[in-house]
């Protein structure tokens, strides 16, 4: 347990250092080269985070996804891994300054959340629950990339409209690129979330006898799912894109984020 906690703290430190390295060129010209270390620091953080999760599972002797803090920690871990993969492919530095703070915030919040084990029917603690949690965690991780791309889109758009170069810590990608990453990541995130919600309904039914409890947090999740689904359908079927698509995506992610905090 102690080793796990130490690794988690190391992960948090690495994420924070990665973020600082990414914005270092902003502080002085001399620190320009520091930015090159940001992805490596993030990767170091992800490695520590992985060890922390494994150690936690080992010490609890179960899958470490049974409490709210555990799920939030796994979410933060997944979003960092997905961001590193996307960064590897597209080399978009602005992800360092969007995803890392998000991962840090989620990780810190997870520390203050109540740690009781969530009630799940014993019969369901099988593959379905694991699939449900995996789909949700990967889906939200991918959606955090969509959110970052959409946020940067709106920032670049505002700079262009105001006729002065947009500034957000690091050199920003073009609108076209933000839009493309937003589209592709949503294309991954939405089916995963769909699968997560359907399996969640099945689990719920076995727990309460009804697939849908109509609690506000669940309604929020479904609303977010519908909203993101409409955005994705309009993007794919109708070629829709641009600022409004980005704004609706940000809204959708915010709803999902609130839902996750209210697990």
């Amino acid at each position: 347990m102690d080793a796990g906690l130490a690794c988690l703290r190391a992960a948090l430190l690495f994420y924070a250092l990665g973020f600082l390295a990414a914005i270092a060129p902003l502080l002085s010209e001399a620190r320009r080269r520091a930015a090159a270390f940001a992805p490596w620091l993030a990767a170091g953080g992800a490695a520590c985070h992985t060890v922390a999760l494994l150690a936690l599972g080992w010490s609890l002797n179960r899958c470490p996804l049974a409490t709210v803090p555990e799920i939030l920690s796994a979410l933060s871990w997944a979003s960092v891994l997905i961001y590193l993969a996307v960064w590897w492919r597209y080399r978009i530095d602005v992800l360092h300054v969007t995803i890392l703070p998000l991962a840090i915030v989620v990780l810190v919040i997870s520390k203050v959340m109540p740690g009781e084990v969530l009630p799940v029917a014993a019969s369901m603690r099988g593959p379905l629950l694991k699939l449900h949690l995996t789909a949700i965690i990967l889906g939200v991780g991918a959606l955090s990339i969509t959110f970052a791309a959409s946020l940067v889109y709106v920032i670049v758009d505002r700079g262009l409209k105001a006729k002065r170069p947009a500034r957000f810590f690091v050199p920003l990608p073009s609108l076209e690129r933000c839009d493309r990453i937003g589209r592709v990541s949503l294309l991954w995130a939405h089916p995963l979330l769909t699968f997560g919600i359907v399996t969640g309904a099945v689990i719920n039914e076995s727990l309460t006898g009804s697939p849908w409890a109509w609690q506000p947090k669940e309604t929020l999740a479904v609303l977010a799912w519908v909203l993101l689904g409409v955005v994705l359908a309009a993007r794919l079927g109708w070629g829709w894109r641009g600022r409004k698509a980005a704004l609706l995506t940000i809204l959708g992610f915010s709803m999902v984020f609130l839902r996750m905090l209210g697990i």
Partner: protein, 428 residues
């Protein structure tokens, strides 16, 4: 007599006022003719580009000043308060320096851009055609061309020519990333449209289409840009398809209005549309920029991007300013030397004529002289007069290097009676 320069530029006046005061290319010769023909002006030239409208005149100080101010006011396109607030008036040294800075592209919105020199040459040709140029302004303009060339070759100011076109291309990159998948639409086939399109297309774009009221010119430009030409009535359809639209026509009104653009933006379903409006006056309604995913940049807007280039080349600009300063001094010295030259000539001929006349008068009293004696006498006269002339002429020459040559000229002409009558009246 003064050289005066009166006008406004991109720093002193807003775009909207500059637009109103632009003298259209077709009217330029007639306008210079009117300016040069005004009372109190001996020579005149009008430089009118999208970034400046300047009147350059030579004439008696007070009347020329009155004339240039009236000239812009009489055009009826600006109020006297606006002109008072946004125009500058430079005289003599300041006017010469300003013209040299403009020609060297130091006063350009985008320092180092090469178009301004061509525009001054056009203004020069128009002033020539209108008969507005005589010795002073003609020599001044010739000098300005050589200063511009000197600055261009001796400093690095033109080595990284960040032009409006470059700035536009940079903005296009912020929107579209690399432009390989972008469709460029060029509206208008004039010089500015061509320069901008060349810069943007140099990045390798998917397609270039050219649209112009005269199809012939559109076809020519399209050929040059390896694109296709499109007839004018298909503007709306082309705007739906294009990504980057370079607009530069001579039309004095908006070609793309908010009402035109709104349905086009809807049809594009959020695909970004980038208007580069380098026309003067503007051809795209600035309100089009308020539409979602549509970005309209005019020349003033592109300035921000261009200023980054200025910082890098500040050192070069400093070297260029020094050249301008030196050349201004050299030109004014030369101009003043023109002022003193007639007086020096008059002084010489007057005193030598006096000496020759007195020699003639006294020679009879000396009786018959041998040719040797005759020659010695003549040499004596020449040597004496040269001695007398030495200090006044040196003083005149020295006076060209500082202001106030006129006072010395007037004094010497008075003291030696150069403008009066009497024995040895000047021959010239």
């Amino acid at each position: 007599m003064s050289i005066l320069l009166y006008g406004l530029n991109h720093e002193s006046a807003p775009l909207e006022l500059r637009e109103r005061l632009v003298v259209p290319e077709g009217d330029l010769v007639a306008a210079v003719g009117r300016l040069a023909g005004s009372s109190g002006v001996e020579e005149g030239l009008i430089l009118s580009t999208c970034n400046r409208t300047e009147l350059l005149v030579h004439g008696p100080t007070a009347s020329a000043e009155h004339t240039v101010k009236r000239f812009l006011l009489d055009s009826g396109r600006a109020t006297s308060e606006e002109l008072e607030r946004h125009c500058y008036l430079h005289a003599d040294r300041d006017a010469v320096r300003h013209l040299f800075r403009v020609a060297s592209s130091l006063d350009s919105m985008i320092v180092g851009e090469p178009q301004i020199l061509g525009q001054i040459k056009e203004a020069y040709a128009a002033a020539h055609a209108a008969g507005g140029l005589k010795s002073v302004l003609d020599s001044l303009l010739q000098r300005a061309f050589s200063v511009a060339k000197k600055v261009r070759t001796e400093t690095g100011i033109a080595k990284a020519p960040v032009s409006i076109a470059h700035a536009a291309a940079a903005r296009a990159h912020e929107i579209f990333g690399d432009l390989a998948h972008s469709a460029v639409l060029v509206v208008g086939a004039g010089k500015m449209a061509r320069i901008a399109a060349q810069h943007v297309a140099a990045n390798g774009v998917r397609t270039v289409r050219v649209l112009n009221r005269s199809y012939q010119r559109a076809a020519e430009l399209a050929l040059e840009l390896h694109g296709t030409s499109v007839s004018w009535d298909r503007l709306s359809e082309e705007l739906v398809r294009a990504d980057v639209v370079i607009v530069s026509t001579g039309a004095p009104h908006h070609i793309v209005t908010l009402e035109d653009a709104a349905p086009i933006a809807r049809q594009r379903r959020g695909r970004p549309l980038f208007f580069v409006d380098i026309a003067m006056p503007r051809n795209v309604d600035p309100r089009v920029n308020d539409l979602d995913n549509v970005y309209v940049y005019d020349i003033d807007d592109l300035k921000g991007v261009a200023e980054a280039g200025l910082r890098e080349r500040r050192q070069e600009a400093l070297a260029a300013e020094q050249i301008v300063e030196r050349e201004t001094t050299a030109y004014l010295d030369w101009l003043r030397s023109l002022e003193v030259t007639p007086t020096i000539v008059d002084l010489r001929s007057h005193l030598h004529a006096l000496g020759a006349a007195e020699l003639e008068r006294f020679r009879a009293r000396l009786g018959p002289l041998t040719p040797g004696q005759q020659q010695a006498l003549e040499e004596f006269e020449t040597a004496l007069m040269d001695k007398v002339l030495h200090h006044p002429i040196q003083a005149l020459k020295r006076s060209t290097a500082r202001p106030g040559a006129g006072t010395l000229i007037a004094f010497l002409r008075e003291a030696f009676g150069l403008d009066g009558r009497g024995p040895g009246t000047r021959k010239s």
